[in-house]
């Protein structure tokens, strides 16, 4: 309690100082800026959703908040983030319950060298071997606590080196409670390095990285049963032989990656290939197989047309700071394996979202965006934009290493796979089409259709030996009507139709905007098609928000389905709850 009180006091001192202080120079030339964000919820019991005081563990009030303070003075920067989860809101891991400073840093630039000490975020290439990042709305933070150096010896070359330990909730690092991460990365912009190529039409960027994790393994054993039969005086005896093995676990696990980017005219080609050494861990069932990944994209752009193709192939690429770590929420990931599917903005289209399967997946995504020019017969007065997107993810082909050893057997090499093979089990498919058209200065519409295939067993339960698939059709109408330059009304009507899982849904939202100050909205999502009559629930809510420059307060009351929420100018991921939600955000 005392700890909380002193933290709040400190916090308020930082906050309640007259704003003039923050806009004045401090320590000759320095500047202080920052932000504060608080999400708070007051939960109500809701018998329809099965929420009661005891199911909430009597935690009727949840609050997640943070404040960043940044000090900059020329080449010197320092900052910290104060966070408090009192109690963590529903949907956030209870291990976050605490208050304190989980992130601080000092950073200095000295000519071509930049050094950071403390907590930092960084990414090598597209993140296949290293990415430390944070996303507040997801409760994700794998920042690295240690040292980071960036050096640019000549124009066009950037070398990075880092070493540290990753964040695990509020747990300070102690020897062997997690691994130590080290890495270095080189990025080479060829056209700047070789002066003769600086005016060339084709731009080439090459890069490479190496990352290593050191962790002292604990003693880990497993037993394997084998059955055999003996015959004794005509009697058949069934025996089971139990053999105990100890895993020979590596102290050091390394990953390397190489990448290239070619840009020429309207074309852009990117490819990154990564490999991981022996890394038996809790995610891959402790097998010794190497990991491999390829991420590649090709795009073509011209004014009014964009074409995009990408492919992602992953085999055993879960790479964490701790061998034993697994489950939800994902913690201590050293690398980042993004989902191949497109992130949608409409709530029903995000009902069945896809997340990468790090043990193996083959995916593809294609997208075309075309704008029919304005002032043409088909395009209309303002032009019409058409977008088409298709993505899929499948398993990869896995074969037994030796006859008699099943695929993924613990303590073995696991399986054999061919690079870029596509397996037979579908994980996810998503086809969507969007038309956007402005009809007049008052009316704008968007019409969208989605066709999704979602392998529920694989995605939600990690069951890979059969397919329980949900097929959905989704349609959205998004209409904005402007009464005046500052007053507008937005209507969104959505429908989701499926014969599986929870059945059909419909969603309607109405939002009234008064630019730039406030909005009022009403929304309802209704699971009218649920096969269980008692579960045909209305997820209704009403929201109000007031914005003044970079400060905003928003209130929402009602029932919130878990998913993505976009209202009154801001989009966030939100967990399920019933009650009042208050959001305060301010940047100073």
């Amino acid at each position: 309690m005392k700890k909380i009180f002193t933290s709040v006091l400190l916090f308020n001192i930082l906050w309640a100082l007259p704003p003039a202080t923050f806009s004045q120079d401090i320590l000759s030339g320095g500047k202080v800026t920052g932000n504060v964000h608080v999400d708070a919820q007051v939960y109500s019991a809701d018998s329809i959703l099965g929420i009661s005081d005891s199911s909430l563990n009597f935690k009727k009030f949840g609050m997640n908040g943070f404040a960043n303070v940044l000090y900059s003075n020329g080449d010197f920067n320092a900052g910290l983030r104060f966070e408090g989860y009192l109690n963590p809101m529903v949907g956030f891991d209870p291990r976050y319950e605490d208050v304190g400073i989980p992130y601080w840093f000092v950073n200095y630039k000295l000519g071509k060298l930049e050094m950071t000490a403390g907590h930092f975020y960084d990414q090598f290439g597209s993140g296949l071997v290293l990415r430390s990042w944070e996303e507040w709305t997801l409760g994700y933070d794998n920042n690295i606590y240690g040292f980071n150096a960036k050096f640019s010896p000549v124009k066009g070359i950037m070398i990075k080196g880092l070493a540290g330990v990753q964040r695990y909730f509020w747990e300070p690092y102690q020897t062997n409670n997690r691994g130590i991460v080290k890495g270095f990365d080189g990025d080479f912009f060829i056209n700047d390095i070789f002066k003769g190529l600086s005016e060339a039409k084709t731009k080439i960027i090459l890069g490479g990285s190496f990352v290593s994790r050191y962790e002292q393994p604990s003693v880990k054993i497993f037993t394997r049963d084998s059955a055999y039969i003996t015959v004794d005086h005509g009697d058949t005896i069934n025996w089971i032989k139990k053999t105990t093995y100890q895993y020979d676990l590596p102290y050091n696990v390394g990953c390397w990656a190489a990448r290239m980017n070619l840009a020429s005219g309207g074309f852009n080609f990117y490819a990154e290939y990564a490999e991981k050494g022996n890394d038996p861990n809790a995610t891959n069932n402790w097998i010794y197989k190497n990991g491999q990944a390829l991420y590649s994209t090709l795009s073509y752009s011209a004014k009014g047309l964009g074409v995009f193709l990408s492919t992602k192939w992953i085999d055993n690429m879960s790479f964490k700071s701790k061998m034993n770590e697994s489950g939800n929420p994902a913690m201590l990931d050293i690398n980042y394996l993004p989902a191949i599917s497109k992130e949608h903005g409409y709530s029903l289209a995000t009902m069945y979202p896809y997340g990468t399967k790090p043990n193996g997946e083959a995916g593809f995504k294609g997208e075309v965006v075309y704008t029919i020019p304005k002032k043409t017969k088909i395009g209309g007065e303002y032009g019409t934009t058409l977008s088409l997107n298709y993505s899929f993810a499948n398993s990869i082909k896995k074969e037994q290493t030796l006859p008699g050893i099943p695929i993924d057997s613990t303590g073995t090499n696991g399986y054999r796979s061919n690079f870029l093979s596509i397996g037979d089990l579908p994980y996810y498919r998503d086809l969507n089409f969007l038309i956007e058209r402005k009809f007049s200065s008052k009316v704008k519409t968007k019409l969208a259709y989605f066709n999704q295939t979602y392998n529920l067993h694989v995605i939600e339960e990690n069951i890979f030996n059969d397919a329980v698939i949900v097929y959905t059709h989704i349609a959205v109408l998004d209409l904005t009507y402007k009464f005046t330059a500052k007053h507008s009304l937005k209507l969104e009507a959505q429908g989701l139709w499926t014969k599986e899982d929870d059945g059909d849904w419909t969603a309607v939202s109405l939002e009234y905007n008064v630019s730039p100050a406030w909005y009022l909205s009403f929304m309802d999502e209704w699971n009218y098609g649920n096969p269980d009559n008692d579960k045909q629930i209305h997820y209704y809510n009403i929201s109000f928000g007031y914005t003044q420059k970079s400060n905003r307060i928003a209130l929402r009351y009602g029932r919130q389905r878990e998913g993505l929420l976009c209202v009154g100018g801001v989009c966030r991921y939100v967990p399920a709850s019933t009650g009042l939600t208050i959001t305060l955000t301010s940047t100073f």
Binding site: W133, M158, E436, K486, P516
Partner: protein
């Protein structure tokens, strides 16, 4: 106790909202390495517009209000440039999942302003951005004089008014 902490925090934020002064200087645009759409490193210290104001917006391909904001800005951008000479940098915070599809989307929609990629959120953190949309307006010397969170239909009209006030040397609201 928790209610007390929460009320104290809200009180502080409300004080902050009501104590805003005009022509507050939020500091210079920080020097952070991000990338252009073709993958080349771009340091934000190189953002300049020959002494004329600059607008910096944060957006993402998955952020619906951000897309609406930029579609609305695109309709009037040429007019804005003619009237004031301003320059817009739209910084996408799409991470590796969608960053490579930013260029075809921007070109497919026919957006005519500069787009930069802040894949790992480095500029977002340096400017204390919480959630997109978030828009900053800086004067010709790189000093950020105004910022705004969220997007409601019609907000873009305010941006050009602020730019005009900066050019005339007037006090902003």
């Amino acid at each position: 106790m928790k209610y007390l902490i929460f009320s104290l925090l809200s009180l502080c934020i409300l004080i902050q909202i009501h104590a805003q002064e005009g022509n507050k200087n939020y500091g210079k645009i920080p020097a952070v390495d991000i990338r252009t759409m073709d993958g080349k490193t771009f340091n934000t210290a190189d953002i300049s517009n020959e002494g004329k104001p600059v607008i910096i917006t944060f957006w993402a391909t998955w952020c619906k209000p951000c897309l609406k904001e930029h579609e609305a800005i695109n309709e009037v951008y040429e007019e804005w440039v003619d009237e004031t000479g301003l320059k817009l940098y739209a910084v996408s915070i799409d991470n590796a999942r969608s960053s490579k599809s930013v260029m075809p989307l921007v070109n497919g929609k026919g957006w005519t302003f500069d787009v930069l990629l802040d894949e790992n959120g480095d500029l977002k953190r340096a400017l204390n951005v919480n959630i997109p949309p978030h828009t900053f307006i800086a004067d010709g010397k790189g000093n950020i004089l105004w910022q705004h969170v969220g997007y409601l239909e019609g907000d873009e009209h305010e941006y050009v008014e602020i730019v005009k006030k900066i050019i005339k040397g007037e006090k902003i609201d």
